[in-house]
């Protein structure tokens, strides 16, 4: 391949893709040069994922022209795209769990010797791919289900790189990675860039884009807004382009913390996940918890709401000891948990908005053994309005909503429960800026109404600006506590990495 | 790790193979010197003939009506289904045989003989059948082993292999299916083990390899039953048949037996429909209800292949429709069927002794051991149970 030519690797002219009832991609021109990282940003539903799926060959009925180099090509199936040197790294894991690492990495191109597979070559080739992402210590023969999630994420990246692509599409590759791993990934991207690859990088995370991208294209409502060099644009401008209006500063926060203690955790442990965690939280407080992935944050939350068993320690809610056996019990006590896995654990995607929002308060709507769904409607409609869930149709199937609106539905479910303590685990991951603002406002409103919010987030600006205090977790231990006044993004990050504190 | 494990296991298997083979060689087949007294065995005959089945009837009634065998037409299948001769090959299977390689009777008495009985599958009927067989075997002091393949052909084939491997003095077999019987019989025959087939009427080819076949004459019984039925119906009206489950001679015998018989005996009787809903009361009920809707008063009689579930379904349907004029007959001898006869609902059922079926097979085997002449087919006695004599058959066998 002509990887050394500095020129247009891929360009699209007037590309459109129509879904029944909507034009997802509307007459878009787009190009990416060899040896550059071209960031693609936009709110959820702006059409960037659809555009990338077109490139990956997921649709055979798009209109418009696509050129690879200078040759017009039709990308009507993943095979076509692969043949043209296009590889895609998906946001959600797309590995086959019961199969071995090598089979996943080399899927579709397992080396053969004659008609049989060449075991030796498979091993070597897998090692080579793994090495590219610094995972060469993994045994290619073990199954994906045996390794951890962020290991899998890196394996997936290795899988794409192993195909020696000319054009690499990355759809939020960092969402499941820790800070160290993100750094490593960026290093890889930089070296790929040097080798002349064209990289399309989709992210919601603006700092990342400024760190790694050369050019950036903004999309909104299926249309391309503009393409700029990264040096000639500021993050405010980008946000404005994405949202289509000037946005107020979305990182501002007032404290509503009261002096009354709401939650007290004493020496809580789940062996192997986190040990001896103690803290307290107050009414109206937003308590941030920060830590790298695997630090035990989500595990702590799961134990608090009774999803997992604890090995020791006590939890007091309003000075009354609670021992939730399961989530139902926890809800009754007044603790709710918004999970980070929206699609698998959070929402019933095949049900509608109404059923999802009311899911948590079913027991409350039961009088004399009869479930009165309609009694929940006022509250539900109020929440739909408050969170501006679009479309505001309670009968809409959740799976058909955009990511941001799905997340709002998830939040609405817990707001409907009106919990004393609400644990939010990555409440704005993979959510566009508009939705993010709405969610932040709601969090604030909840705090104002006296709920205690425990905010688990990897989004440092969000964490720092919303929290009254931030707890830092590292490798299963609670190592530090910072007041709002004393914490900045940098200090929190350093702390989470185990630096900067004695 | 994996390879090591597999290696170890293979090693273990081989170890056993070697030790096992040795053991097998060391085992000298001690065939008991058969000194059993032929006379003693023959003397037990009266005791056997005096055995009673659970219903109080004599367990073994040899010498039922001798049936007349018409000459085989050149091509039975060319005749219409209503012609009795169409069914010649099925009805008279075994009457013309070409016996091959049948072992000679040792004529040294039945006492102490090792006999393996392979039935077709588990069913209350089978239990009664084997009970009857045990009674006779008990008197003769035979070593009777009973095996059931649970209606699975592959398993029955395996059981036959295993039985051959045991080298018994006789195998008694209910073939699972008429058509698979020849191959099974042939295999036993080839191994040199004497064989008696019973109960299910096999293909004629199977008879070549067996000493004899014992069992009910389904066609004959149903021809007789049909006459009773036709008389009750007055020789006219529409009738319908609830058939046996397909896959064996009863499916044909219990439907086309009467059909072909009545074509001659009472041509005024019209066949309205025939269906096989299986042995389920609710399905049969639905079928008969639909018939009653469809044919209305034209339906005067129903012939069922089973006197329990099917008959219950029929009478539920008749009760619902308020019909008491429909004359129902069935193959019989179950408790449910006889109760229905006693209640005056079923007009007549066949005497289908289950215990007698098993007993006759064992008795025939004993006769062979005793050196007696065995006819190519031994039928069970034929009898129609009606309300007049139903009390004689209580308590039911199954």
């Amino acid at each position: 391949m002509n990887s050394n030519d500095i020129g247009i690797a891929l360009s699209m002219q007037g590309v459109s893709k129509r879904f029944p009832g909507t034009l997802a991609v509307d007459n878009v021109d787009f190009d990416v040069r060899a040896g550059e990282v071209h960031a693609l940003i936009g709110e959820n539903g702006a059409g960037k994922s659809t555009l990338m799926k077109i490139i990956a060959g997921s649709f055979n009925d798009y209109t418009g022209k696509i050129f690879i180099g200078s040759r017009e090509t039709e990308l009507h199936s993943p095979v076509h795209s692969k043949k043209n040197g296009i590889e895609m790294i998906y946001q959600e894991l797309s590995l086959a769990l019961p199969l071995s690492i090598s089979e996943n990495v080399l899927v579709g191109r397992l080396p053969k010797k004659g008609i049989f597979l060449d075991k030796e070559k498979i091993y070597k080739e897998t090692k080579r791919c793994l090495k590219m992402v610094g995972m060469e210590h993994l045994d290619p023969d073990i199954e994906i289900e045996e390794i951890s999630q962020h290991e899998s994420q890196l394996v997936e990246i290795g899988k794409a790189l192993g195909n020696n692509p000319c054009i690499l599409v990355m759809d939020e590759p960092t969402s499941a990675l820790s800070r160290e791993e993100v750094e490593r990934l960026f290093e890889i991207i930089r070296s790929l860039k040097k080798r002349g690859l064209a990289i399309i990088y989709i992210s919601h995370h603006l700092p990342e884009i400024f760190e790694i991208a050369d050019r950036v294209t903004v999309m909104r409502d299926g249309k391309k807004i503009d393409t700029r060099d990264i040096g000639s644009v500021t993050s405010e401008e980008l946000v404005q382009m994405m949202v289509g209006q000037t946005v107020k500063d979305f990182y501002h926060h007032e404290s509503h913390a009261q002096s009354e203690q709401r939650l007290r955790v004493e020496n809580l442990s789940r062996y192997g996940f986190f040990h001896n965690v103690s803290f307290e939280a107050y009414k109206g407080e937003v308590l941030g918890i920060c830590g790298l992935s695997g630090a035990g944050r989500s595990e702590l939350a799961r134990v608090l709401v009774g999803l997992d068993d604890r090995n020791g320690g006590r939890v007091f809610l309003d000075d009354k000891e609670i021992k939730p056996k399961n989530m139902a019990h926890a809800l009754k006590e007044g603790i709710a948990y918004l999970t980070e896995n929206r699609k698998t654990e959070g929402l019933a995607l095949r049900l509608n908005v109404k059923e999802n929002i009311l899911a948590g308060i079913i027991p409350e709507l039961v009088y004399r053994g009869v479930y009165h769904e309609a009694d929940g409607f006022p509250k539900m409609n109020e929440l739909i309005d408050e969170l501006s869930i679009y479309p505001p149709d309670p009968e809409r199937i959740v799976g058909n909503l955009s990511g941001g609106n799905q997340q709002k539905v998830l939040l609405a479910k817990w707001m409907a429960c009106d919990p004393k303590v609400l644990i939010l685990d990555e409440p704005t991951r993979g959510v566009d800026i508009g939705a993010k603002m709405t969610i932040h406002e709601s969090i604030e409103q909840l705090a104002k109404n006296g709920s205690t919010i425990i905010l688990i987030s990897s989004d440092l600006p969000e964490l720092v600006s919303l929290s009254n205090r931030v707890l830092i977790m590292r490798q299963g231990h609670l190592i530090h506590e910072m007041e709002h006044s004393g914490c900045s993004e940098e200090s929190v990050l350093l702390a989470a990495n185990g630096e900067g504190i004695c | 790790m994996k390879k090591g494990l597999i290696f170890l296991m293979i090693l273990a298997v081989f170890a056993v193979v070697f030790t096992g083979c040795k053991k097998e060689e060391a085992k000298v087949v001690e065939k008991e010197a058969t000194t059993s007294n032929l006379g003693a065995s023959l003397a037990l005959e009266t005791e056997v003939m005096n055995l009673k089945a659970a219903d109080g009837q004599a367990l073994i009634k040899i010498g039922g009506t001798v049936r007349k065998v018409p000459a085989r037409p050149a091509d039975p299948s060319a005749l219409p289904e209503t012609d009795p001769l169409h069914w010649w090959d099925m009805e008279f299977a075994g009457e013309i045989t070409n016996k091959t390689n049948i072992p000679e009777s040792p004529a040294d008495g039945a006492i102490g003989k090792k006999v393996i009985m392979i039935v077709h599958g588990d069913h209350p009927w089978t239990t009664a059948c084997t009970n009857g067989a045990q009674k006779v075997a008990g008197v003769y002091g035979m070593d009777l082993k009973i095996q059931s393949p649970n209606w699975d052909l592959a398993v029955q084939n395996q059981m036959i292999d295993q039985a051959i491997n045991e080298n018994p003095d006789m195998i008694l077999l209910i073939p699972l299916d008429a058509k698979t019987a020849p191959q099974q019989a042939r295999k036993i025959n080839k191994a040199g083990v004497p064989l008696i087939l019973f109960n299910t009427l096999p293909d004629a080819a199977a008879m070549d390899y067996a000493i004899t076949w014992t069992g009910p004459d389904d066609f004959g019984q149903f021809r007789k039953l049909a006459r009773l039925w036709a008389d009750e119906l007055g020789g006219k009206g529409g009738v319908a048949y609830v058939q046996h489950a397909p896959g064996g001679s009863p499916y044909f015998a219990r439907c086309f037996g009467p059909v072909s018989e009545l074509a001659q005996y009472a041509p005024g009787i019209k066949v309205l429909d025939m269906q096989a809903p299986g042995f389920e009361a609710d399905k049969t009920m639905q079928l008969v209800s639909d018939w009653l809707t469809r044919f209305g008063d034209d339906l005067k009689g129903i012939c069922a292949a089973d006197d329990s579930a099917q008959s219950l379904g029929i009478f539920e349907a008749l009760k619902k429709a308020g019909r008491e004029d429909v004359v129902v007959i069935a193959a019989g001898n179950s408790k449910v069927g006889m109760d229905l006869v006693r209640e005056g609902k079923l007009h007549a059922i066949t005497y289908q002794t289950a215990e007698g079926d098993g007993a006759l097979a064992v008795k025939t085997a004993a006769d062979w051991f005793n050196g007696k002449e065995i006819e190519p087919i031994r039928n069970l006695p034929q009898h129609m149970i009606t309300i007049d004599d139903v009390e004689d058959f209580y308590p039911p066998q199954w």
Partner: protein
């Protein structure tokens, strides 16, 4: 980062993965030592021959499970093809009827596959409907009569199939073993074979990697139809007859064997050879039970208990596994240190 499994754990994993071989060995040894007349060439040949049909049928069925589908219609396909294979012999000879029968099996598989892959109906439903429809077709076309060979050479083929070439080995067994070996190697050692696993393990990944998942799904159903056809025809030829429900017991048998052999209903896991060993194990077990003079009830009961324990064991293992996913080894070590102190 990597939690290197210690040797104790990897032994357990090895035992777990090879549990069917261990089970087989245990059952075999037990029967060889205690069951009367079990361990001789004649009986072992019987076992091999008994297992031949289900072993053949299980090939395709295992592939179906690997691809994450289910085929309830194999029992009726067996019967259907057996009847075609024998029924047409009179007209076109075995040379014609056997291929026709096997192709018929493949066609039924193709219909199943098309309905599952293209019409996107759940395979449980498709094959359940197919089962009903086919059973009806069988009864309708045979008129309720079993099929047998009526020609004088009826037994020639069955005799040949049962010919003892070598202890334990008859042509029938050879055909089965060759089919199993070929398909096991195909599934394990070729790219196409591994693609079946990939489609079952994660359809989306497979599709994105350029594997035509629909084609593989259809191929799996065709394979299931063809192997069921081969199994049915061979069995019918050996019995020199085809009965109207000869395949009915195979479905449960093959499902049990595949599951006990370690193939998962969820797809992507398992192997043909393991299923074969599981079938052998069940046959050895049943054979032994009969030799002990025990009845059917014991067989059914033990088969149920084995299947139930395997399912429960697997469920329990993954239940336990779920609880420790993401556990940090260094924290566990820390705990040990604390406990010692």
């Amino acid at each position: 980062m990597l939690n290197k499994p210690n040797s104790k754990k990897s032994l357990l994993v090895a035992i777990d993965r090879n549990r069917i071989f261990i089970l087989f060995t245990i059952v075999f040894l037990f029967m060889a030592l205690f069951a009367p007349r079990f361990f001789n060439v004649f009986n072992l040949t019987t076992i091999m021959r008994t297992s031949a049909m289900n072993a053949t049928v299980a090939i395709g069925f295992t592939v179906i499970l690997i691809i994450g589908q289910l085929d309830l219609s194999i029992g009726t396909i067996i019967t259907f093809t057996a009847i075609i294979g024998l029924g047409l012999k009179e007209y076109i000879g075995f040379g014609g009827s056997i291929p026709v029968a096997i192709i018929a099996g493949g066609l039924i598989g193709l219909i199943n596959g098309l309905l599952v892959a293209k019409a996107k109906i759940n395979s449980f439903i498709v094959t359940l409907g197919m089962m009903t429809a086919l059973q009806g077709a069988i009864y309708t076309f045979t008129g309720g009569n079993s099929v047998s060979l009526s020609t004088p050479d009826a037994f020639a083929v069955s005799d040949w199939l049962a010919l003892m070439i070598f202890p334990l080995v008859t042509p029938r067994v050879i055909i089965t073993l060759v089919l199993i070996a070929a398909s096991a190697i195909f599934m394990k050692r070729t790219r196409i074979g591994r693609n079946f696993y990939m489609v079952g393990g994660n359809r989306q990944t497979a599709w994105l990697a350029g594997i035509d998942t629909d084609k593989y799904t259809i191929a799996a159903f065709i394979m299931s139809g063809v192997t069921a056809g081969i199994g049915g025809v061979l069995f019918a030829m050996e019995s020199a007859a085809a009965t109207l429900n000869m395949g009915n017991s195979s479905l449960m048998y093959v499902i049990s064997a595949a599951i006990i052999g370690g193939t998962a209903m969820s797809g992507g896991k398992g192997g043909i050879f393991k299923t074969f060993v599981a079938i052998l194990m069940l046959d050895v077990l049943y054979n032994g039970i009969i030799l002990f003079g025990l009845g059917n009830e014991v067989k059914i009961f033990i088969a149920g208990i084995i299947l139930a324990s395997v399912v429960l064991y697997e469920a329990y293992v993954s239940y336990k596994h779920e609880k420790v996913i993401g556990q940090r080894p260094e924290l566990m070590k820390e705990l040990e240190v604390q406990n010692q102190a």
